[in-house]
Symmetry: C2
DNA sequence: TTTACAAATGTTATATATTAACGATTCGGC
DNA sequence: GCCGAATCGTTAATATATAACATTTGTAAA
């Protein structure tokens, strides 16, 4: 919980990102302790690699890195760790990119929603009770019971727009 | 533009689906004529196969069908047709399923949004100015310029819920 | 109408993404 | 220490998608 944490990942120039990583790992350990889950070495390392930056990470990038570090790693090594982290709510999958991003709990109580900058490739998780409410309203109108929401907004962040 | 067209694809029992298909193909031809695009035999057939029902269609299902019909077909055959139809706005990709659905223009002026029933696998394209407005508001707050929205809501439709 | 260029398609190969299946190991409770 | 469950190693298969280059076709200018 460092003062240098940026308000938005889109203004992340020179922020103390090591704090993001260590905070995420600390939160993961707390959550696993609370829930009796085992944050094994592989799982922890995968989470750490995903938090290496604020860009979504691809499964095969993880596979290559883990493979180099351990001398061996097959796809299931990575996908099992990803499944665990997804189930634990520690990461999210970005469907439109086939990639994974650390959960920073920025969605609050609602479903996660993402702003994805196509220029810097950073992804911000945003809360929006307004969007949640509007979608709940649409679902109710259609008699549709919502289980899961995939909300991924692609575009250009403020920082990249002002650079252009 | 047939009277038997259902209000929702979730209440599509016994509707005259051939009208859905022919309407979609007619609209495609009009749009291509207007815009100077070429709706070739392969592209037209792929669009027709996607409109075969109101469920998302996978690329390799198309590949197998086209392959049988033509005696030959490699992945690029299908993916190039899909790219064309996507660019023309005639189909949408459902990112969370890696599958494709015909555009029925049900999103009106806004970005497309989908209700996806996990039980009957039907997909409904819904308009929602309310959701569009809420997302535009969030984007403005973040200084984010929206290019594209992926909004895919998974759950259970009314018809499937009442069957259970 | 021939030529020439661009668009579309054919073809081969490969990269990326994901899961199945089964054996070996390790962890935690008894 | 023993046992069952969870985790991991390993091999293989399946699913999704793109790169690269050759060939053909459509179209419009010369």
């Amino acid at each position: 919980m460092t003062a240098s944490r940026p308000k938005s990942v889109f203004n992340a120039h020179g922020h103390d990102h090591s704090a993001c990583i260590s905070d995420a790992l600390t939160r993961a350990e707390l959550l696993c302790n609370e829930q009796g889950l085992r944050l094994t070495a592989i799982r922890r390392r995968v989470l750490e690699l995903i938090w290496d930056n604020h860009r979504p990470t691809k499964a095969y990038d993880l596979l290559h890195t883990i493979g180099q570090e351990r001398g061996n790693a097959a796809p299931p090594t990575v996908y099992r760790a990803l499944d665990f982290l997804l189930d634990a709510g520690l990461i999210h999958k970005i469907e439109s990119l086939n990639a994974f991003i650390g959960c920073d709990a920025g969605h609050g109580q609602g479903h996660p929603k993402f702003l994805i900058c196509r220029s810097c490739e950073r992804v911000a998780e945003i809360p929006s009770p307004e969007v949640d409410h509007a979608l709940a309203h649409e679902a109710k109108r259609a008699g549709f019971k919502i289980d899961h929401e995939t909300i991924e907004i692609g575009g250009t962040c403020r920082a990249c727009a002002s650079e252009a």
